[in-house]
Symmetry: C2
Subunit: 174 residues, 2 copies
């Protein structure tokens, strides 16, 4: 454990396009600027390194591996910022149990808004049937029931959402 610092797993969950990666990147930058040890585990990047499918079982296995990785980093005093759709409540609960300090952040934006943004053009492709098992379209998203933090990104700018996230994390991350 690094002196004076405690690790934590800050787990951002939400639909594709809700703003998870954007907020996660700003959070990582924030902790780096403070000189804190921090690692970003991001869904798109991890799928690039470790290709896997989108069935329930494959998603669960994938999140379990990420969760284990996060827990190893955390217990060594590192702040882990994880941004994953992670649509299943049971999966997120499993990761929570692996970790010491687990902070679930629900990056909340409605399907309508995410689909309208469609930053990566994935919703359009999913609607056309070119992508299967797409969360929100033909695959479920189980929203957190009692997350430590909720950030609604619908009506807010990135700066506003980030300020809200930081203020909510403040009392949780020392």
């Amino acid at each position: 454990m690094i002196k004076g610092n405690h690790g934590a797993v800050i787990w951002l969950t939400g639909l594709s396009g809700a703003g998870k990666s954007t907020l996660a990147e700003k959070l990582v930058r924030h902790y780096k600027d403070q000189g804190r040890p921090v690692e970003h585990l991001d869904g798109d990047i991890m799928r690039g390194i470790f290709p896997t499918g989108f069935s329930r079982r494959e998603r669960e296995e994938h999140i379990r591996r990420i969760g284990f990785m996060a827990s190893l980093l955390e217990r060594n005093g590192i702040i882990v910022v994880a941004s994953f759709i992670s649509p299943y409540r049971a999966s997120r609960m499993e990761v929570r149990r692996m970790c010491g300090r687990f902070i679930e952040v629900f990056v909340d934006a409605s399907l309508e808004v995410c689909e309208r943004r469609d930053t990566k053009g994935l919703y359009r492709r999913a609607r056309k049937g070119e992508i299967k098992n797409f969360t929100g379209i033909d695959d479920p998203y189980e929203a957190p029931q009692d997350p430590e933090v909720t950030v609604n990104t619908e009506g807010a700018s990135v700066e506003e959402s980030f300020a809200h996230l930081l203020s909510q994390l403040g009392p949780l991350i020392n």
Copy 2:
């Protein structure tokens, strides 16, 4: 990075029964006693958490994941002691490339000696054909060609092998 400490990945490779886990556990204890941040990633334990097969492709994927995990820990100043048969040279090379300071330790004992020890009874089962793709029996083991450290455990006690390992690691781990 933890002040004054550098991370490292100490990667023990060798046949089943060569003594990897035993040496790895002693090494982890040693660094813990020194107050160094250390994590042990062990083949049997990791397969317990993340079941996978024994085909070349599955072994490679598994080692790649472990290597990535090790590299994240290492770059945060943690000493990672990894004990995996990891039979393929290309696979170990891939992990080496991911890491900053990678120390390959060849835990060397001949197939004959390992089979005679047969601490887990696995060689007997592999000879009977009850286990397939068993390294050394019906699956290859590609010994390191230029490892940083070689520990021959054939004629030596655990204490002797460990003392040799420590003395070899000394100049490499500050």
